[in-house]
Amino acid sequence: MALIGELIMQGAQMLLVLAAAPLLLGFTRKVKAWLLRRKGPPLVQPYRDLLRLIRKETVLAENASWLFRSAPYLIFAATWVAAALVPTFATGLQFSWTADLIVITALLGSVRFFLALAGMDVGTSFGGIGSSREMMFASLAEPAMIMIVFTVALTAGTTQLSEVADFVFAHASLRVSLALALVALIIVALAENTRIPVDNPATHLELTMVHEAMLLEYSGRHLAVIEFAAALKLLLYVSLIACIFTPWGLAQAGGTPAAYAMGFITYLGKLAIGGFLLVLFETSIAKMRVFRVPEFLGAALMLGLLGTLLLFVSRSF
């Protein structure tokens, strides 16, 4: 009976990320429009876009291989699993033993791999450029992510997200290493979600685009699935930052229904705050040149490295 209850909670978590991801995207768009003194699309617009795309006909290039057709589903599945593993409203769920930072990084890495392959599959020049740029950024963003994982794992003594959240909650204090890891993680999250200083999520057809360039050949349900995955990825990073650095309000394993409800409400609050800060940052900054991005990501890598180094100072007393 207890097992069924836990499975239900895990299922709730999986459905929650699925339901909340387009909402977060709609929220960021709405807030961005407000900050620019425009009215903006309604909050549910991303859901409508996804529905519209699913209903539309899928057009495939003549020379598209099986990889091109299966990549969207692989991308979506891997992103969904990764997003569902991050503790959102509760720690210690049924599958939390797999909710490992390295697993999540690896899942996102494979997502990127399939996306880059799909971008090159049809053989258009735009797709190739997008894939090559994505790989250039990845070669810096992934080591930076791994350094962040090391910093967090060395501080908390584990790579499991539930235990990391419990550790930070129990030993809440200011730590330089964690602060550096937070800044680095924010930089990586901006780059991974193709947000403004790195790439512009609102553009389509521009010479500097990275993520959109790989998707140019997709249409219909394939495009819907990939866009859904992109929304899930944004939600994943916001939840990851919220879970590691602000674990307050997370329900513990075997908590009362009231605790779970509390966790749910605080999670929505964290999402709203995270989305708002993201948009505030985006509207106050201009997009940087593509060739400056490696420096930006290099800063994240350096901060991660610095955080790991500083741990040895903190350990020394």
Binding site: S173, L174, R175, V176, A179, L180, V183, P294, E295, G298, A299, M302, L303, L305, L306, L309, L310, F312, V313, S314, S316, F317
Partner: protein, 220 residues
Amino acid sequence: MDRFVLDFAHMLAGFMVLVSFMLLYQDRMFSLLNVFALQATVLSASVAWQAHVQDAPHLYVTAVIALVLKAIIIPVVLHRVVVRLGIHRNIETVGSIGLTMLFGMGLVALSMVVMLRATAAADPLAREDLAFALSVVLLGLLMMVTRRNAVSQIVGFMSLENGIILAATGAKGMPLVVEISVAFSVLVALIVIGVFLFRIRERFDSVDSHALDEFRGERK
């Protein structure tokens, strides 16, 4: 509570190091000056926290001096100098920023190793502050070495001085007289350097310090 005191001091000093890296990263004049003002503000907060922790009221004076002199007066003066020199639109051509940052990382690691060995018996609060302060000093030196524009070299020099103040307040018992005289010597240095900048420009039509090397015949 004791844990929190240590962590907060650690945090402020660590933030100083972070801001030093931001200085290395900036290549635009005005952002450089803004980041420098930020560093001075953080320094002031750090010194004030030390004053609170060590229960040493004279450190509050140091904090106020740092805030007024380094976070307000010096950046404003340098700002005007930059405008008058007409170099505010220049983007500095430093070598690869990534390489400089990597070198800076090495310096931070070096100062950690040196300080942790050298001060094994010291009070942990002082020890951490010293390690961070040495990093800030070395990063300021690195900035002076890697930059070619005289104004950014001055900023490097001032941030080096910030590191020295950080080190001095971490260790107990720096007299106020020393502190005030250091602050005023920095101000005098600023005036001298300011005058010098204009002289250099008159003579060489540039504030690129490589012009000086060419003049001495060291570089063709």
